[in-house]
């Protein structure tokens, strides 16, 4: 069938699942006992397998299948997560990513079998289950299956697997219904239905099966549960227990009348513990098949290879003909879309207002006309903003691949290190997101390679053996700041100086008068690397200057702070024409201001007599800590209002450990605001970090609480 229309969805979802896998692999590497992670992986691998199968990517399907198998064993606690396993899994993940890349490129998964990874996975799984012959069970059946073609599929399972209904457990309560049914002389059947692998709407097919069955009988129990089937939480088969007056053939017919059903196996069902006389009858025909797969794994594999080769030939030209057009897509929060839809409907209302006005053609309506125009204007402005908001993507999409990278680096460099990330939810424009990945990667690699000392050295220095690298992203007024810091050795100023002298970038005289900061800035010059040994991780001298160029290309800036022995810190500031933050709207006098929510700790009502004076400065004693009060009205030169309130509304803001209380006149609730730059003509005080436009078109200034504290 033609699945090309699903290709984009497939690629999108695969990316998501791969990310999940990557994240969770990291988790189980740290906490091998974490069952949530195991389950998560199992689900992701399972979905991947299903999707790859639907799309006809057999190799991908096989690999994910093997991963899933392993996790099945872990889930059933037959084995534990071992470091070797995680390594294999990561290799498998890379292989899957390679498949995906290939699919992106050619709409075909390529020809790399990754046999070795599959084998390793299988042997791990086999060891766990204690099966003496690992290949026939999982290993051979899977490739045979993946070789494609209906023929192979027939061989895929043994009897026990096919008649899954025999394993349905019957509870005491259900037993009663059984007895009743027996008394009524009803036939009790166990049914296992197999859907075709190409079936896309599995839940719908299953539903049709149920419907067909319920017309002539009663479904007592199903595995998985009906709920799960409806939610499509099953693979290609489901089993059920069924009461009916009709014969076995009739039932089978009814099921097979539903399309996209591969096979329906119907057999008499006996409650466990009861007599099993009739049980033999059904399996007979399957018996033969059972022998086959066991006997011919080798053949199957060979055949599979041949089939694959043919597949390749057949698929290649086809793929070329239909070179996929994979568009660049953005996943959009449904709420943002709702806002857009609302705005569009408002736009239509505004238009209708204008239309009706023009049709009445009454000069009396002139003022109304202006009103409508203004309305239209504000709607379109909002529309513009909302559309721009849609372009905002959380930085998470770039940084979430870093933990994996650091893990690999850690192994490669033989240093123990950990990456700590915060603020992944900070939003940046899509274009910036696309560009910022490489520079960040560079900086992280630098930190890992040059920044952190060797483990022994760290221990000798009395530091934690494990090196720490931090990646913090946060909104800072009109900027988004991303900090990459490590607790490593820091940058040796003298070393940099000497290097620069050696390279002739500076003269002796210059070196003598240079400040430390100036020396550090030398690092950002082209072809400058202080790494004594050049590794393939970094240190080819194309590091920081490239980073700098890139960031400046985005309109940002980068600076470096360092302290010998304490570590270094690279601070990237990206200016935002359209940063969006949550803010508390406050009134001061008649003017409106916005205080970024991020810096607010609490809001307090303070009575006048609680305000004390310390060295002529107003302070309050808030639950034991003394907090200076800042009268925003005075600082901002707002004309004081007439009324005298009985108490002060104080917004407590914090910066690091320091806190301050901002006195405001009124609170206006929380709002998501779009930060607009004020421009560089006005030398406004540092208190103001930008402005925002309110719903009614008014402007509110954004207070930079950090500078007040």
């Amino acid at each position: 069938m033609d699945v090309s229309q699903y290709l984009e969805i497939f690629i999108d979802e695969t990316k998501e699942h791969l990310q999940t896998l990557s994240d969770q692999f990291m988790v189980i590497e740290q906490e091998p006992e974490n069952m949530d992670a195991v389950n998560e992986i199992f689900r992701a691998a399972h979905s991947l397998k299903g999707m790859a199968g639907t799309m006809g990517f057999k190799r991908m399907q096989r690999l994910t299948h093997d991963m899933e198998n392993v996790f099945q064993e872990i889930r059933s606690e037959n084995m534990k997560v071992s470091p070797e396993l995680v390594d294999v899994l990561f290799r498998g993940l890379d292989a899957l990513e390679a498949y995906l890349a290939e699919i992106l490129e050619t709409a075909n998964e390529g020809t790399e079998d990754n046999e070795e990874i599959c084998q390793t996975l299988n042997s791990i799984a086999a060891k766990a289950t204690g099966k003496e012959a690992p290949a026939p069970a999982g290993g051979a059946a899977a490739p045979a299956e993946s070789a494609g073609g209906e023929a192979a599929e027939e061989d895929s399972g043994s009897v026990d697997e096919k008649e899954k209904y025999t394993s349905i457990q019957i509870t005491e309560y259900e037993k009663e219904t059984f007895d009743k049914a027996k008394a009524d002389n009803k036939n009790i059947f166990g049914i296992t239905v197999y859907l075709q692998e190409t079936c896309i709407l599995k839940a719908a097919r299953a539903f049709l099966v149920f419907k067909a069955l319920e017309e002539i009988g009663e479904v007592i129990k199903s595995v998985p549960s009906i709920q799960d089937i409806e939610d499509e939480k099953f693979e290609l088969d489901f089993s059920l227990v069924y009461f009916t007056d009709e014969s076995l053939e009739k039932v089978k017919e009814a099921i097979e009348s539903v399309s996209e059903i591969k096979e329906a196996i119907v057999g008499p069902f006996e409650v466990k513990g009861d007599a099993k006389e009739e049980k033999e009858e059904a399996p007979k025909e399957e018996e033969k098949k059972k022998e086959e797969p066991a006997a011919k794994p080798a053949k199957a594999q060979a055949a599979a290879k041949a089939a694959k080769a043919e597949d390749k030939k057949a698929a290649k030209p086809a793929a070329k003909a239909a070179k996929p057009s994979v568009g660049r897509t953005v996943r959009v929060d449904i709420e943002k879309l709702d806002v857009l839809i609302n705005l569009v409907s408002e736009l239509i209302i505004a238009k209708n207002g204008l239309v009706s006005m023009s049709s009445t053609d009454d000069s009396l309506h002139d003022s109304g006309f202006n009103e409508q125009i203004e309305y239209l204007e504000s709607v379109t402005t909002n529309l513009h903003e909302s559309v721009m908001k849609v372009r905002m993507v959380p930085i998470e999409t770039v940084v979430n691949r870093f933990p994996r990278m650091i893990r690999d680096l850690s192994k490669k460099l033989g240093k123990k290190m950990e990456l700590h990330m915060t603020g992944e939810e900070t939003e940046l424009d899509r274009t910036v997101i696309d560009e910022i990945g490489d520079p960040l990667q560079h900086l992280l690699r630098n930190s890992a390679d040059h920044g952190l000392e060797e483990n022994e050295e760290r221990i000798a220095l009395g530091k934690d053996e494990v090196g720490h690298i931090y990646l913090d992203a946060y909104q800072d007024g009109n900027n988004v700041t991303i900090e990459v810091r490590d607790d490593g050795a820091g940058i040796d100023i003298e070393k940099v100086k000497n290097k620069a002298l050696e390279k002739g970038s500076i003269t002796e005289e210059q070196a003598a008068v240079m400040s430390d900061q100036e020396v550090i800035d030398l690092l950002f010059r082209p072809s400058f690397s202080t790494a004594e040994k050049i590794t393939d991780v970094s240190g080819r001298g194309v590091g920081l200057d490239v980073v700098k160029t890139k960031i400046e290309g985005l309109g940002g800036s980068i600076e470096c702070k360092t302290e010998i022995g304490e570590g270094s810190r690279f601070i990237i500031r990206l200016p935002l024409t359209l940063a969006i933050i949550q803010a508390l709207m406050v009134d001061i006098g008649t003017e409106k201001f916005a205080i970024p929510l991020g810096s607010i700790e609490t809001i307090e009502d303070v009575m006048f007599d609680e305000v004390k004076l310390v060295q002529t400065k107003e302070v309050i004693n808030l639950r034991g800590s003394v907090i200076p009060l800042i009268r925003l009205g005075q600082i901002l030169e707002v004309e004081p209002g007439d009324y005298e309130p009985e108490s002060l509304t104080v917004v407590i803001v914090r910066k690091g450990d320091k806190r301050a209380g901002l006195v405001v006149d009124n609170l206006n609730g929380q709002q998501e605001i779009v930060i607009k730059p004020i421009g560089d003509y006005i030398h406004c005080s540092k208190l103001i970090s930008g402005a925002t436009i309110l719903g009614n078109g008014d402007i509110a200034l954004i207070l930079e609480a950090n500078t007040l504290v």
Partner: protein, 159 residues
């Protein structure tokens, strides 16, 4: 050589330069039209604390926050009196962001050829305002002070 220059000047002059003539108190000023992005009515200006005294604040122009300065205050005249004729001229130099300037009235657009423009008397350096001028245009009976808009909007020294 002089002949050729004259011819070129004439050609340019023939097309002339267009200026928007605005009124401040009783004087007329001309603003080169190539800098003018838009002219909007007086609207609500949001004050910016501790800005330069001649900056009235910022306005919302179709979703953009644009700073607005008072030409009167910049030129050391009396504070603005907002009337129905008051306008904000949005200036957008190519390489800079937009800025609004408040004028008492927008009169007309005039085309001045080179021979209608007199260079300012640069020897008269006592006048602080001289740096803001690019010439004096003669239009009909009146004189129009042509503004050097870049130096007006870009502060060189605190006035």
């Amino acid at each position: 050589m002089e002949d050729i220059n004259d011819v070129q000047n004439l050609n340019v002059a023939g097309e002339g330069k267009q200026y928007i003539v605005v009124r401040l108190e009783n004087e007329q000023y001309g603003i080169d039209i190539k800098y003018v992005d838009n002219i909007v009515r007086q609207q609500k200006i949001t004050r910016i604390p501790s800005a330069q005294h001649y900056f009235k604040g910022v306005i919302n122009l179709r979703g953009e926050v644009i700073p607005v300065m008072s030409l009167r205050l910049k030129f050391g005249l009396k504070p603005d009196e907002y009337t129905n004729a008051t306008r904000i001229i949005i200036i957008k130099p190519e390489d800079q962001s937009a800025i609004g300037i408040i004028v008492d009235e927008v009169r007309e657009v005039v085309t001045l050829s080179a021979d209608q423009i007199e260079k300012p008397n640069t020897s008269d350096n006592n006048d602080v305002q001289i740096q803001y001028l690019s010439g004096i245009g003669k239009h009909g009976d009146g004189l129009v002070t042509l503004l050097n808009i870049r130096s007006v909007i870009n502060e060189k020294e605190s006035a």
